[in-house]
């Protein structure tokens, strides 16, 4: 228990230290990317749309950390990468608009939107 607390405190501290210099995530850009890019594929069954409010903040954090998309067949990061955006930008306006955004910034933006829109987030959100 004590170890867990220490570990948690350590993680929290390192997060705080990181955030002091970190990029200031833009949840609105994350919202546009999530709804235009993620939802555009996920609208199709069998998986269907995934509302940010369908998971808790912790669940989203764990999902993004594990970085396993489609049960590990590929990564989540890949779908936010410049390479992926370049591959779909002819048919997806969000990918085109954010074509040059650094990968980590866009990932942070999407994470910020998911955290905010999570079941226990500040403003639970849907995908459209």
């Amino acid at each position: 228990m004590k170890l867990a607390t220490t570990l948690a405190a350590g993680v929290a501290l390192s997060l705080l230290a990181a955030s002091a210099f970190a990029y200031d995530a833009d949840w609105k850009r994350g919202r546009v990317y999530y709804r235009s890019v993620c939802t555009s594929c996920h609208a199709v069954q069998p998986i269907g749309t995934i509302n940010p409010s369908s998971k808790t903040k912790a669940e989203w954090a764990a999902y993004l950390k594990a970085d396993k998309h489609a049960k590990g067949k590929d990564t989540v990061k890949q779908y936010v990468s410049k390479a992926y955006r370049a591959s779909i930008k002819s048919g997806n306006k969000a990918a085109e608009k954010f074509a040059d955004t650094p990968d980590q910034e866009l990932l942070d933006d999407v994470a910020a939107f998911l955290t905010k829109g999570a079941k226990d987030g500040d403003s639970p959100a849907s995908c459209n």
């Binding site: 949840w27 235009s36 969000a94 905010k116 500040d122 403003s123 459209n128």
Partner: protein, 537 residues
Amino acid sequence: MGHLFNRAALALCCAGWLVATGPVLAEEAKPEPKPLKLTTTADHAKFKELQKTFNSGPEVTKACLACHTEAAGQIHRTKHWKWEYLNPDTKQTLGKKTVVNNFCISVASNEAACNSCHIGYGWKDASFDFKSEENVDCLACHDTTGNYKKPSGLAGNVVTKDMEFPPGSGKILKAIDLSKIAQKVGKSSRDTCGACHFFGGGGDGVKHGDLDSSMSAPEKELDVHMDATGLDFTCGTCHKTSSHDVAGSRYSPTAKDSKGAHLRGKTDNGNPATCVACHNNAPHKSVARLNQHAGKIACQTCHIPSFARGGIPTKMTWDWSTAGQLDAAGKQITKKDAKGRIIYESRKGDFTLGENVKPEYVWFNGNVTYTLITDKIEKSDQRVPINKIGGSPSDGKSMIWPMKVFRGSQPYDPVNKTLVTPHTAGNDDTGYWKNLNWDKAIAVGMNTSGHPFSGKIDFIKTEMSWPINHMVAPKEKALGCAECHSKDSRLAGIQGVYIPVRDNNKLLDTIGWAVVFLTLLGVIGHGAMRIVTARRH
């Protein structure tokens, strides 16, 4: 002496070398560039005044005003603050504080609930101090986090410690972190304006029809200007604001804008929120005929083919006269349609909802006359207009405009022949939503608004018109010719103008075509004769 000179020369050389190589060394080190915000000149997170705990909204405002010394004074002059507006044409005193509508009806006696959308803190009754600077709510419009909330029932105040509300309900209102929000303030956005204007009438999309939460980050199909991955207009792009006064109010709309596109530096540009303010009066480049249409038809008529297109329904009717039904156990009931949307509530009555609604069309010259609580009304077959839309085909000032017409039945005083202002919201014995007693609710409400009430209650049918301006579709989705030029024309009810196909006369058409046919026959016959006679020679 020579020795000294040599030393000085050496020192100068060294200094020169340092100066010359300094920048090169610095370049080699390549320090990380300082993170730079390009959307603002002031990162509010760096201000010590905001790096503290705030226990109430006014505490934040005080911190804002320490630098933005004129802001509160500017706000005090606006409709958003006063909820009062004198229409210069009709001389009517309007504004949310005064008007009566056919949604939740009126503000008086319901301030604690309604005024969560006031840009101030603490307006719970008539004692509110409109001169108070610290009660101005800066964050309602300048929040960028999307986490700033003003729950209904708290007179526009915010929650800084988790609280149960209403007391005894078991519902917990979560605290918001004012410090975080204050450190991230920025320009107003679709989200901040939308926090109130998307939710007017008590819910998402209820009131306007062309404004709902689907407009917070819309696609091009829904709104060609606000398209989040395209032009990405905010509300303020058109509703150009100066000195905190937002332009383009529905209380005095511009139905026909003949001033043309706005030029920088021109002082009499007029309303910046009209289509013409950017697109000018002859915007169609390839089909000149359409520019002739623009002389009589508002842009919105063709370019907003339907409203409530974003997947969120808008309320189309509201019948207060059926409110008050209870279930067998004496409890309030709620009925839903097949899609799970509320269509009846004991405390409100019956509703109908609409999505992708075709507007109704009228001649409109910009004059709107409200039926106020002081105006006499008569019960008849005709609905009482909550706001009478002025216009005619021949006044030279009118255009054909699309409207959402919201129809309802609401309580009125059949003896004094006036609308009434019931006390609806409130956790008290007289609030209609709690106790379903019109007698008490209207008596208290009329007493608060300061108008006579006979004690008799009846219901009267009313209608309210909302000019449609938003949800402008891409040009490919604008109305085609046949939408109006056909027998089942959208403009079926529009009088005073000849619309080909809609207005054609069968006899006249037959005569016309006969003339064309006979002329053709004559020309062919004449030509044939000439050919035949030419051969003979």
